[in-house]
């Protein structure tokens, strides 16, 4: 053997890699398969020379050596597994269209599931048994009718197109849907699962989703029914066609039959689609899961509604409480304001009264100070001027200043002292800019 050329590079040795003498054993090879090599060709001769070492092998060695060898050849035909119905064996080949091809080949347990290989093997078994020459040998009449039935069955079943046509109308593979009563009495999943499995054979899309069981998720169940409501079927009905007369005969007649067949096929297809639709409707109506999902959904909805209501209630209550609090605060505020106002009013009145009293004191003090006239009774002009000036001052000062002035004047009987108090007041007011120089002349 020439060496294998590998053009992709080896990896760089990782940092820190170490092995004894630069080698590390890690695993073992997987177990080998024992097979027979073919004792043919020059390379085998070399192999044999090496392997024999001039030894001689016995019959025992042969058995020993072959005990574990992987088998390559299939076992030959073997027994026909299904009993043959005597009535079936008497079938006429010309009636082949009405024969059960799977029964003829003895594979009714497979039907549309039979693989090409199974069909071939079944055919071979039947041929070996029913070939007319075999019957002749067994002293039976030279009757090749059933043999022809076998050939017909194989012809149909080994042609993928014709097999589909037959499978389309193979009633024996149908599973009748259970009635409502049966469903309610039995196990829905078992009863209907079989129906859908049988119907699924017509699906262009494979694999077909399974009906599942009570534990299936809502998603799976929905997928299942969606699949069946959008079922894409290859089922056809030409197998049931009326025979078209041979081309040499009347052309019109031929065309007529062809048209009739076309219409019949179309009609059957439409009916089949409707049938399936109804079947799915029925199953859906009986499917407890759908109810459960709906209930669960309703419960979910209710729960959500209750939650919403509770929330609304809570919010309303909160708002009412808030409003109450606000009203209370407002009332309190109002009461306080009112009280304040009364206090203020009283104070104002008191101040007014005090001011009146103070004014009286002040005016009285003027009289006590003899109208600021020194010596003897004050002339009328002086009295007027003094009173005017004092009134003018009173006008210019507020109640507090008035009170202060009154306080200063209280207890003072001496005219000079009183006069001085007024003079000081005038002085203060002039300085504060409330009186002009020259006003209150009587006190100047």
């Amino acid at each position: 053997m020439a060496s294998v050329q590998v053009s992709l590079p080896l990896p760089v040795l990782p940092e820190g890699w170490a092995g004894e003498k630069d080698f590390k054993a890690i695993g073992h090879l997987s177990h080998a398969t024992d097979r027979n090599i073919e004792p043919v060709g020059p390379h085998f001769l070399a192999h044999a020379r090496r392997k024999r070492h001039k030894r001689t092998f016995s019959e025992d060695d042969r058995i020993q050596a072959q005990s574990n060898v992987k088998k390559v050849e299939d076992d030959d035909a073997g027994e026909i597994s299904e009993p043959e119905d005597p009535l079936m064996l008497q079938r006429e080949a010309k009636d082949w269209k009405n024969q059960d091809h799977y029964a003829v080949l003895g594979i009714t347990k497979y039907r549309w599931r039979a693989t090409e290989d199974q069909i071939k093997k079944a055919h071979r078994k039947k041929v070996l048994k029913h070939h007319p020459d075999k019957k002749a040998a067994a002293g039976q009449a030279q009757d090749d009718q059933f043999f022809k039935c076998i050939q017909k069955a194989t012809e149909v079943l080994s042609d993928p197109v014709r097999r589909r046509q037959y499978d389309s109308v193979d009633e024996a593979a149908d599973v009748e849907p259970p009635t409502k009563k049966e469903t309610q009495k039995g196990n829905f999943y078992k009863l209907w699962g079989r129906v859908f499995e049988a119907e699924g054979r017509f699906s262009k899309t494979q694999p077909v989703p399974k009906l599942g069981n009570e534990k299936s998720t809502k998603e799976d169940v929905e997928h299942f029914y969606n699949f069946w409501y959008n079922f894409d079927s290859w089922r056809t009905f030409e197998y049931l066609d009326e025979d078209v007369p041979d081309d040499n005969e009347n052309r019109d007649q031929k065309r007529h039959v062809e048209r009739k067949n076309q219409n019949a096929r179309r009609k059957k297809k439409t009916e089949d689609t409707a049938r399936l639709r109804k079947l799915v409707d029925d199953a859906l109506a009986l499917d407890e899961r759908i109810k459960q999902f709906r209930q669960a959904e309703n419960a979910q909805k209710n729960k959500r509604r209750l939650e919403k209501e509770a929330e609304q209630k809570r919010l309303a209550e909160e708002a009412a409480k808030q409003k109450e609090l606000e009203a209370k605060a407002k009332a309190e505020q109002e009461a306080a304001d009112k009280a304040n106002r009364e206090v203020a009013k009283k104070a104002k009145e008191a101040a007014k009264n005090a001011a009146k009293k103070n004014k009286r004191v002040v005016r009285g003090a003027v009289k006590d100070a003899n109208y600021f006239h020194s010596g003897g009774d004050a002339p009328a002009s002086q009295i007027d001027a003094a009173l005017n000036d004092v009134d003018h001052i009173i006008l210019k000062i507020d109640n507090e200043e008035l009170a202060a002035l009154t306080a200063k004047l209280s207890g003072k009987k001496n005219g000079g002292e009183i006069t001085q108090v007024f003079k000081d007041e005038v002085q203060r007011l002039v300085e504060a800019g409330k009186l002009k120089e020259g006003e209150a002349k009587s006190l100047a």
Binding site: V4, L29, H31, N68, V72, E73
Partner: protein, 570 residues
């Protein structure tokens, strides 16, 4: 010692013995196989005997008797040999002498002497007579007394069948040196060509014969062959193709001659029809059209017609498709993928038909080479593959004592452990961080085995890691990008299975399996190559040597086989 037992006096040929045709070949002094024509000039000699007033006719002359003398003509009998009557399929003998039960074996009731009475001639005797005629033809051609042969048989020929054939051959004066299987003989015929390159590969031999078709998937490893899977089918056959033409021309005939009747319903007409249809089929292998011409086909009416190849291909298309399916089934049965198949060798006469080859080619990727006359200019005549292989094998073993041959083909020699996984190294490639597996020894290689590989190193040289692993072949399937939908938005509910129509891309890749060992080679020169030598023993011990090509030293490693051989399934 009798001449055929004494290797020095042996004259050995190769024989292919089919139900429909047989061939004989010898190997020249230069080691080239040559197919021998019989006295009629035929290299495909019909496996037919016919008796006319005690005279025995053979081959093509016997075949011609199917028209007038069908009941005394024996044909398609090979598969009856060594079998009980109950387990034979008499169907192919519909138009010749029918097989009958005879004690525990099969016979034909024929008038094989000048006398007016029928004799029960066993299938063993018929075989002997047939082989004798072949031996005589070969001896006449070679000018030497042929006394031994290697004979090809189907892979499912039982020991009982071989036994019966061996005895029948002996009675015909032929010592059978060895039976070899037909598909393996075909592979050998190709491998024995001087320009053949030996490489490990998986080969499928697909044989579309006259009465059956056989497919074998064969691992070829270092010139040693292992059959991995086989399929046999008795429905997909040359007969079916003939039948297509028979039906076609019968209908044509009836269209033209309304009074002639259906030629298929009269034995003699049917025989003529069949012979001519086979000839037409053969003519269509080379020509784009062929003539059908039979004198007095039915009702005393002559009939001539032509057919072109494409018409024939259309009429027979389901049979070609069935054959192609059979071939892919065999590949599946071997748990392989069409991508694993390097070559499909088309054998059997019907492989001359171009459509047989194209149907098979379509079932395989382009990387698979289909070897048939219409697909490869260097293809060997598919009729002759078996007999050439047999002749080559005969030349290889003719100097051995019989005893020696028997011991060399003993199961103690042939039963061999085969690797269940490929063994190889991890390399670096662009984006793959974990390394890419590169096989050095493929799966299904018989043990012991030694293989070497030369592996590139990083550009700068330096220190490298050599990781030995098992690898599992993996088919990577890339779905085509879904076609951008037509801009329209409302096409939402368009079924999405449209994309299924597009071909997905399938590639053969490797999955890294069990790591077996690591080794380091240090200080490699720039641009150095590393040589890895792997020796795997029948006990699954692995001995490996890693060294720099042209460098000194190297690293050795030893791995022991799996612990317990018992739990082999683990």
């Amino acid at each position: 010692m009798s001449p055929e037992k004494d290797p020095a006096q042996r004259v050995a040929i190769g024989i292919s013995f089919g139900n429909s045709y047989s061939s004989i070949a010898f190997t020249t002094g230069e080691g080239k196989a040559e197919v021998i024509a019989n006295e009629d000039g035929d290299r495909q000699i019909p496996s037919i005997l016919s008796y006319v007033e005690g005279e025995e006719l053979h081959g093509g002359q016997a075949k011609a008797q199917l028209v007038r003398n069908a009941t005394n003509t024996v044909a398609y009998f090979r598969d009856f040999l060594g079998k009980e009557f109950k387990s034979i399929d008499p169907s192919p003998c519909h138009q010749s002498a029918h097989p009958v039960q005879h004690d525990s074996t099969v016979a034909f009731n024929i008038r094989d002497t000048p006398e007016e009475k029928e004799n029960a001639v066993t299938v063993a005797d018929i075989t002997t007579r047939h082989l004798k005629r072949l031996r005589i033809s070969a001896s006449d051609y070679l000018g030497k007394h042929v006394n031994s042969a290697v004979i090809t048989v189907p892979t499912n020929f039982s020991d009982a069948q071989k036994d019966a054939l061996n005895k029948a051959a002996k009675a015909a004066g032929i010592e059978v040196l060895q039976f070899i299987s037909e598909p393996v003989a075909a592979v050998l015929a190709y491998d024995a060509r001087p320009d053949a390159k030996q490489a490990d590969k998986i080969v499928v031999v697909a044989d579309l014969g006259g009465t059956r078709s056989d497919v074998a998937v064969i691992a070829s490893r270092g010139g040693i062959y292992t059959v991995l899977a086989t399929i046999h089918d008795y429905e997909v056959s040359g007969f079916q193709l003939d039948q297509v033409l028979m039906d076609h021309f019968s209908k044509e005939f009836m269209k033209k001659h309304k009074t002639g009747g259906d030629p298929r319903e009269n034995d003699r007409s049917l025989a003529k029809l069949k012979l001519e249809c086979e000839a037409v089929k053969k003519a269509l292998s080379i020509g784009s059209s062929a003539n059908f011409s039979v004198e007095s086909l039915a009702g005393g009416l002559d009939f001539t017609a032509t057919i072109n190849r494409s018409r024939y291909e259309l009429l027979a298309s389901k049979h070609f498709a069935a054959f192609a399916r059979l071939v892919t089934h065999a590949v599946e049965k071997a748990q392989l993928d069409p991508l694993d198949i390097s070559e499909v060798i088309l054998a059997g006469g019907n492989s001359h038909t171009p459509k047989t080859a194209s149907a098979v080619q379509n079932a395989f990727p382009e990387s698979t080479k289909v070897l048939a006359p219409s697909t490869s200019t260097t293809a060997i005549n598919p009729n002759e593959l078996s007999v050439r292989g047999a002749a080559i094998q005969a030349s290889l073993i003719q100097e051995f004592e019989l005893e020696d041959i028997e011991q060399s083909t003993h199961p103690m020699v042939t039963v061999t452990p085969h690797l269940s996984h490929a063994v190889g190294v991890l390399c670096i490639s662009g984006d793959e961080s974990t390394g890419v597996f590169h096989a050095i020894v493929d799966a299904e290689t018989p043990l012991p085995v030694r293989r070497t590989a030369l592996i590139a190193t990083p550009r700068e040289g330096g220190d490298v890691l050599i990781k030995l692993c098992e690898g599992a072949r993996h088919i990577k399937v890339t779905k085509p990008e879904p076609k951008a939908k037509q801009a329209k938005d409302d096409s939402d509910d368009d079924s999405d299975d449209e994309s299924d129509d597009e071909e997905e891309l399938r590639e053969k890749t490797w999955k890294v399996g069990k790591v077996l060992s690591e080794a380091a080679l240090r200080g490699l020169k720039k641009g150095a190559k590393v040589e890895v030598q792997i020796n795997i023993g029948a006990d699954l011990n692995v001995n490996c040597i890693f060294r720099e090509v042209g460098g000194k030293g190297g690293v050795r490693g030893l791995l022991s086989g799996p612990k317990s051989q018992q739990n082999g399934s683990a």
